[in-house]
């Protein structure tokens, strides 16, 4: 509390740059004491002490400490900020921010931090950064204050709101102020205004605060809180539904990617390809290899390694697909049971081969920065990697549709599937069409692997986890129809995600499976059944 009061006094001063700088000498002394800490509570005391100086100069030190970049040089117990890693490290003076020296990593000892400390540092920094230059830092500061509302901060926040130019940051500051007002001794009218502001934001995180107000207050205040809670709940219900739809679409896009190759090999050609999942795995491992190669030979292109991996994964998986078709499947056309067993055998061989080449453990495939993190739309969180995968899967779908309906190759493919003998009599080389169709299906599975390596594991078992889902989508959507696969994937995804909050992930999956079985009983050919002679062929 005393500390907070101190902030209140100091903050207005801090907001004016250049005024009230602490003196360097005591700061250096406090920092030097990091060399002797043994326990976390000692570090904690030092962090508090640094914060209490109110000197903006402590920021780099505290930030470095939170990130684990603060080191002690073993020879002379001097403290340095050491960004980056490696054998030889640059030492940066914590006060001046200038490069002081170099040292090998073995000559340094890290100042240890844990979660509690990182949290404390964030809190200490937030008060220091309310007037920071970057909008992001100010926003973070406002959010931290909102998380720990304290009536003593109201004045500081008022000053900050006054000076703020960025509307988004200003809103966060007002939110933090409103939270503090609700807990303060200010007149009831102020509090009701604050509650109304909080209610209008429709934010989940204010619910618990309002609930405590509702429980402890009476009269108008209680009524205002109850109204605000009801308002937030109704807004949130709509957002929750939207969020579920988005989750469903994103799960659907993963299903679509995994299944669309199968929609070609199983749907169009009628081959039950149990090694389909392994083609996805081959694509994912290709991504891993490409990423390693890019890292070794062209580190500058690291961010775009996925772009190189896509065509390569298509070629590698496609080539394996053609090899399987030429080597095994073409002898087994018209014998579905044998095809099933043979391709299952192939899947085991491929799995074990990958296990022997790359080892049994997971391989790390990095996410490029444009696929990491998330952004918010209202109360909904959308992660970048999911968004890209949705876009990518739709792109692949459109491309395939084009190949099938607008190219001569697609025409041949459709001709062969519909009536093989007639197509053959018309001069189409059916064996080649078979091989290429199978290669195309496998290649598409390969590029699905590139995308799936961004959300899941890259391990020899990768394929197994997708094969059942893929068959489910293709059978549900209707064999031999790409549109059916698209609709099947998205409806299964959305159904799954709407069931999950109520039934849990395990039961949700079972319910979906039961529903599909019932559906197939009613419509054995799936959503979009092919009609006419093609079916009998």
């Amino acid at each position: 509390m005393i500390l907070r009061a101190l902030w209140m006094l100091l903050l207005p001063l801090l907001l004016l740059p250049g005024v009230a700088r602490g003196q360097d000498a005591p700061l250096g002394e406090i920092i030097a004491r990091f060399a002797n800490v043994e326990k976390f509570d000692q570090t904690e005391a030092l962090v508090r002490e640094l914060g209490a100086t109110g000197d903006p100069g402590v920021r780099p030190v505290l930030e470095a400490l939170a990130e684990g970049n603060l080191y002690v040089r073993k020879v002379d117990n001097a403290i340095f900020i050491v960004p980056g890693s490696g054998k030889v490290l640059k030492l940066i003076d914590p006060l001046t921010g200038e490069e002081a020296d170099e040292a090998s990593s073995s000559a340094l000892k890290k100042v240890r931090v844990n979660n509690g400390l990182r949290r404390l540092i964030r809190d200490v920094l937030s008060t220091l950064t309310l007037g920071a230059k970057s909008a992001e830092a100010r926003m973070a500061a406002a959010d931290t204050m909102f998380a720990n509302p304290d009536p003593a901060m109201i004045e500081a926040l008022d000053a900050a709101i006054e000076a703020e130019s960025d509307p988004a940051v200003k809103l966060r500051m007002e939110r933090a102020r409103a939270a503090a007002v609700v807990l303060s001794d200010l007149p009831e009218s102020d509090k009701i205004a604050a509650i109304e502001l909080l209610g209008s934001l429709g934010d989940r995180s204010v619910l618990s605060l309002l609930a405590t107000v509702e429980a402890n207050a009476d009269g108008d205040l209680q009524r205002a809180a109850a109204d605000a809670i009801a308002e937030i709940r109704s807004v949130l219900a709509a957002w929750d539904a939207a969020q579920n739809v988005w989750f469903g679409i994103s799960l659907g896009s993963v299903l679509l990617l995994a299944a669309i190759g199968l929609a070609i090999t199983f749907g169009v050609m009628g081959v039950i390809n149990m090694a389909h999942g392994e083609m996805v795995m081959v694509g994912a491992y290709t991504t891993f290899v490409v990423q390693g190669a890019v890292h070794a030979f062209a580190p500058a292109l690291q961010e775009w390694s996925l772009a190189f991996a896509l065509p390569l994964a298509f070629l590698v998986a496609g080539a394996i697909g053609v090899a399987i078709e030429r080597g095994i499947i073409r002898f087994l056309y018209g014998r579905p049971l044998e095809t099933l067993l043979a391709t299952w055998g192939v899947s085991l061989v491929l799995q074990q081969a990958v296990r022997m080449i790359f080892g049994p453990s997971n391989r790390e495939v990095g996410n490029p920065s444009w696929m990491s993190g998330s952004f918010e739309i209202g109360q909904m969180v959308i992660t970048w990697n999911r968004l890209w995968i949705v876009a990518f899967s739709l792109g692949v779908f459109v491309l395939l549709l084009f190949v099938f309906n607008r190219t001569s190759w697609g025409l041949h493919m459709r001709a062969v599937t519909q009536n093989r003998r007639m197509a053959s009599s018309m001069g189409i080389r059916t064996p080649w069409v078979d091989a290429f169709t199978f290669g195309l299906g496998s290649g598409i599975a390969g590029i699905a692997g590139v995308a799936l390596s961004q959300v899941g594991n890259v391990s020899p078992n990768l394929g197994q986890s997708y094969i059942i889902d893929s068959f489910m989508v293709v059978v549900f959507g209707g064999v031999g129809n790409l549109w059916g696969t698209l609709l099947g994937a998205f409806s299964l995804g959305i159904a799954n995600k709407f069931l999950e909050p109520y039934a849990g992930a395990v039961l949700g999956k079972i319910i979906v499976l039961v529903l599909i079985i019932l559906f197939i009983q009613k419509r054995p050919r799936g959503l979009f059944a092919l009609k006419g002679r093609a079916v009998e062929a």
Binding site: F40, G68, S85, R112, N114, N115, G116, R118, R204, S205, L207, S208, L209, T212, Q243, N244, F247, S250, L251, V254, G327, I328, V349, Q351, Q352, R355, M356, G359, P360, S361, N362, R363, E364, G366, N367, S372, G373, S374, V381, T383, W384, N385, R386, V455, G456, N457, V458, S459, P460, N461, Q464, S465, N496, K497, E500, P501, G504, A505, V506, K509
Partner: protein, 433 residues
């Protein structure tokens, strides 16, 4: 011709692959003691178990360099149960009756252990089981060198409660016996500490669950109630990578909602970019980052044995290290590899563990271990932030479950019972013994 050679090469390939699958070290010589290694080298569990096979081969090689055991060389017999639970029982039988091994080191999942139990009982052999498990079991022929729930789960929850001030709990796990039993114990424990039932959220997911969007959002919403929230994760194996990726992408930081995991170690982190995960926790009895001479030596031997400086060490490896040395010591003490003699001799045997202390085999066939809590670092290692002041004795029958709190196990004569009920004074309270 073209076709034929293609077909032939395919057959050749198949032969080579199957040959490698079945590879077993050469024919037995008369004067060796055989040690069985029963870990999956293919299938789902190969990801975790292959390393344990390697560490056993290393330990046996090291022991042979020291002159073997009872004047004889040790010989490893490796079989591959292929992550197939019934096959575990068959392979165990093959190890004992065909190869005549003196002891078996193996199994990972509880299902596989349960499947081999009757075999070890019937043929009276020894199994050293190196993985943390749910407890509620003590068998005469089995030695549990991994952690019981009180050697991992309960200290971890204590840490979060006392050091991080956590008041709201998400118990997330994969849907099978280990997470379910552990969560039951934890729920009872938390409620005994005064946590309200509405402050505990339990969530199960299928094996290999890959779409964590809904659950991570639920966790985030559950954590926005104003009370400090933590996730206790018994999520197993492959499902962890997408779970942590989703946490990172949705911006859940360890400072806000820390996740403490019981099945995530150095090996599992190898498949993830740990940058966004710094600060999430794991509870184990050993971390590669432990500073002790024994550990430095162990890591050096491991790197030399595998010829790969980047191979990490983990907790189940340490369990095998302890178990193997205990067996060696017990055999030396008994002067024979006869299972009955070893079972009698091994209780009370103490060997150094890798964290700088000694572990002892207790009469309940569990061992004493320190409990360590580590925070994930950006290099994929753990930084130890807390450890129990002393060693913790493995408690096979949990004190927090109503139907097992009166049970104890003591395999010394005259009790010789794995489920002695102290309330009724009878052996055979619960379970299959």
């Amino acid at each position: 011709m073209y076709l034929k050679s293609k077909r032939r090469s395919l057959v050749m390939g198949a032969v080579i692959v199957s040959g490698m699958l079945m590879a077993e070290p050469g024919f037995a010589q008369e004067d060796t003691i055989k040690v069985g290694v029963l870990h999956s080298l293919s299938g789902t569990m190969a990801i975790s178990e292959t390393t344990l096979k390697d560490v056993m081969l290393m330990l046996i090689e090291e022991q042979n360099k020291k002159g073997g055991l009872l004047g004889k060389k040790l010989e490893a017999v490796v079989v591959d149960p292929a992550s197939d639970w019934p096959l575990f029982a068959e392979k165990a039988r093959e190890l004992i009756s065909v190869h005549g091994v003196a002891a078996v080191f193996g199994c990972w999942t509880s299902v596989s252990r349960k499947s081999v139990l009757p075999v070890f009982e019937e043929l009276n052999s020894l199994l050293f089981y190196p993985v943390q498990y749910e407890g509620e079991e003590s068998q005469r022929n089995v030695f549990y060198t991994g952690a019981a729930p009180n050697q991992q789960a309960i200290p971890a929850v204590d840490y979060l409660m006392n050091e991080e001030g956590v008041e709201r709990w998400v118990l997330a796990g994969t849907d099978y016996v280990y997470p379910q039993t552990t969560n039951k114990i934890l729920q009872a424990y938390l409620e005994s500490k005064g946590v309200a039932p509405e402050d505990i959220m339990v969530n199960y997911t299928p094996f290999g669950h890959s779409d964590w969007q809904t659950i991570v959002t639920d966790i985030k919403n559950f954590g926005s109630a104003g009370k400090k929230t933590a996730v206790v994760s018994t999520i197993n194996g492959d499902a962890n990578v997408p779970f942590y990726k989703e946490l990172a992408n949705q911006g859940i930081k360890a400072e806000d909602i820390p996740v403490v995991a019981f099945s995530v170690g150095e090996e599992e982190l190898a498949g993830i970019d740990t940058g966004p995960l710094v600060g999430h926790l794991a509870a184990w009895n050993y971390f590669q980052s432990v500073e002790s001479e024994a550990n430095a030596e162990f890591i050096e031997t491991w790197h030399a044995f595998t010829g790969d400086e980047s191979r990490v060490t983990n907790d189940p490896m340490e369990a095998h290290y302890i178990g193997f040395n205990m067996w060696v010591k017990a055999v030396e003490k008994a002067g024979t590899t006869d299972p009955d003699a070893v079972i009698d001799a091994i209780v009370g045997v103490s060997v150094p563990n890798l964290s700088g202390g000694y572990s002892t085999m207790m009469p309940n066939h569990h061992i004493t271990k320190p409990v360590l809590i580590g925070e994930i670092q950006d290099d994929g290692q753990f930084e130890i932030v807390w450890e129990t002041p002393g060693l913790v004795v493995g408690d096979e029958w949990s004190d927090y479950l109503p139907d097992s709190k009166d049970l104890i196990a003591d395999w010394r004569a005259p009790l010789s019972c794995g489920n002695f009920n102290v309330a009724t004074g009878k052996c055979g309270g619960k379970g299959i013994n």
